[in-house]
């Protein structure tokens, strides 16, 4: 799943690319399990997004700083070890912060370990770049991931529970769409976002083709 290496770019670019152009969820379609599983409310989505960002940031930093120390034969094993360590740490930290959140996220915190996004960034980027760039990359990707999760979590919570971040948005009489909190709703919402993005992309491409074809 590693992405092809890109030519050297500016630090801003490394940061920004994860937000939109190479958005891990909407463009690369990576790390789907947590995206779908914990996006039933905005709070869960935010927590999962931040946890993933943290793990990605820390493992990118460590991998980047150790990149000349790790022989390439054992690099995947080392990365997994590093990632698993930080996931374990996050697991305990979340439990210490809020037991309720910990219960809501359940096993999916542990499952950050197998989020191919993190291993992918470590392998494709951090192992080849300096600490600063690796941190920016992780932050960009992490924030992009978090934003995508919030996009899903927001829609699902608003329709499914009539609230956002636990704050009721509608009058009492609002009928929640239970399906949105259920697994089916997760699939449909993500499919909906992808549809929207594909549609916009198509429109933009069509427009640029038109521009090229239209004589000045």
């Amino acid at each position: 799943m590693p992405l092809p290496d890109l030519p050297p770019t500016t630090p801003t670019d490394e940061f920004v690319k994860g937000l939109w152009r190479e958005n891990p969820v909407f463009v690369q379609v990576l790390g789907m399990c947590p995206v779908l599983a914990v996006s039933n409310s905005a709070v869960n989505a935010l927590a999962m997004g931040l946890a993933t960002t943290f793990v990605m940031l820390m493992s990118n930093l460590l991998v980047s700083s150790l990149r000349n120390f790790i022989p390439k034969q054992v690099r995947i094993a080392s990365y997994i070890l590093i990632i698993a360590t930080f996931v374990t740490i996050v697991d305990y930290v979340i439990a210490a912060i809020s037991l309720e959140l910990y219960n809501a996220l359940g096993a999916f915190i542990s499952l950050i370990v197998v989020n191919c996004l993190i291993l992918g960034r470590a392998e494709a980027f951090a192992s080849k770049h300096g600490i600063g760039m690796a941190a920016l990359d992780a932050l960009g990707m992490g924030i992009g991931f978090t934003v995508a999760l919030l996009c899903l979590g927001g829609v699902r919570e608003i329709l499914g529970s009539g609230s956002l971040f636990g704050v009721a948005l509608f009058p009492e009489a609002f009928q929640p769409w239970v399906v949105m909190i259920l697994p089916g709703g997760g699939f449909f919402t993500l499919a909906g976002w992808l549809l929207l993005i594909n549609y916009l992309k198509e429109r933009r491409e069509a427009a640029s083709v038109m521009l090229q074809e239209t004589p000045e």
Binding site: L66, P71, I82, Y92, A95, A96
Partner: protein
């Protein structure tokens, strides 16, 4: 992640060095965090448990956790796993009830709950669902429906003459048809979920109530001894 085959065997020492090094680093990090967060997590857990215990045992002000040892006597424990009971005491250190954890299959996934048993009244005096994935808006009424929760303020679990079995097994009936103290008035529209609660309670009480009655003094005295 395919590797081109190396003409010469790669040196082994750097591999050991890096793996062991990373391993040590990771171990240190984990142990530090684990150690740092352990008391906080334990306190969080204890507080959550305490809140739940005091909800199902409305008169209790203090809690002591017991474990069933050798299948026949209860001993107070501070930390443990397996079959645990939480005895609740009032301000005068009198045993007001026992909170028991129970679980079973609901409509969508397993439901776990805590219920309070009062040895004096021989009734269940409270019930709280700890985790459930029942359908929001429908099955989750077992957590929110006040009429349903009112069932558990006094639910008959008297033993028969032998002292080993319940006189009447707890059962869930159709909403509005409860006629006996050991019946639970179900929820229309959430029939399966409310029946699941009844089944979990029936199974758990049939096991625990005779045990608790037989070894009541363990709990009464043990609590005082263990009091901080």
């Amino acid at each position: 992640m395919t590797e081109t085959t190396q003409p010469a065997r790669p040196p082994v020492w750097p591999m050991y060095r890096s793996l062991v090094g990373i391993g040590v680093l990771c171990a240190v990090l984990i142990v530090l965090v684990f150690d740092g967060t352990r008391p906080i997590i334990a306190r969080n857990r204890a507080e959550a448990l305490e809140r739940a215990v005091f909800t199902v045992l409305p008169d209790a002000t203090r809690r002591v956790t017991f474990a069933l040892v050798d299948e026949r006597r209860f001993e107070p424990v501070t930390n443990g796993s397996g079959s645990l009971l939480h005895a609740g005491f009032d301000a005068d250190d009198r045993l007001v009830g026992v909170a028991v954890e129970a679980g079973g299959m609901g409509y969508a996934d397993t439901i776990s709950l805590l219920y309070g048993y009062s040895p004096a009244a021989e009734t269940i005096v409270g019930m709280q669902v700890l985790t459930s994935k029942e359908t929001p808006g429908l099955g989750d009424k077992i957590q929110t429906d006040e009429d349903f929760l009112a069932n558990f303020a006094a639910l008959d679990v008297k033993l028969d003459e032998t002292g080993t079995t319940l006189r009447h097994r707890i059962e869930t009936v159709k909403q509005g048809t409860k006629s006996e103290p050991w019946q639970i008035d179900g929820i229309t529209g959430a029939t399966i979920s409310s029946e699941a609660i009844g089944d979990i309670l029936a199974a758990s009480s049939a096991y625990w109530v005779p045990l608790i009655r037989r070894r009541l003094e363990d709990l009464e005295t043990g609590g005082i001894d263990a009091a901080p």
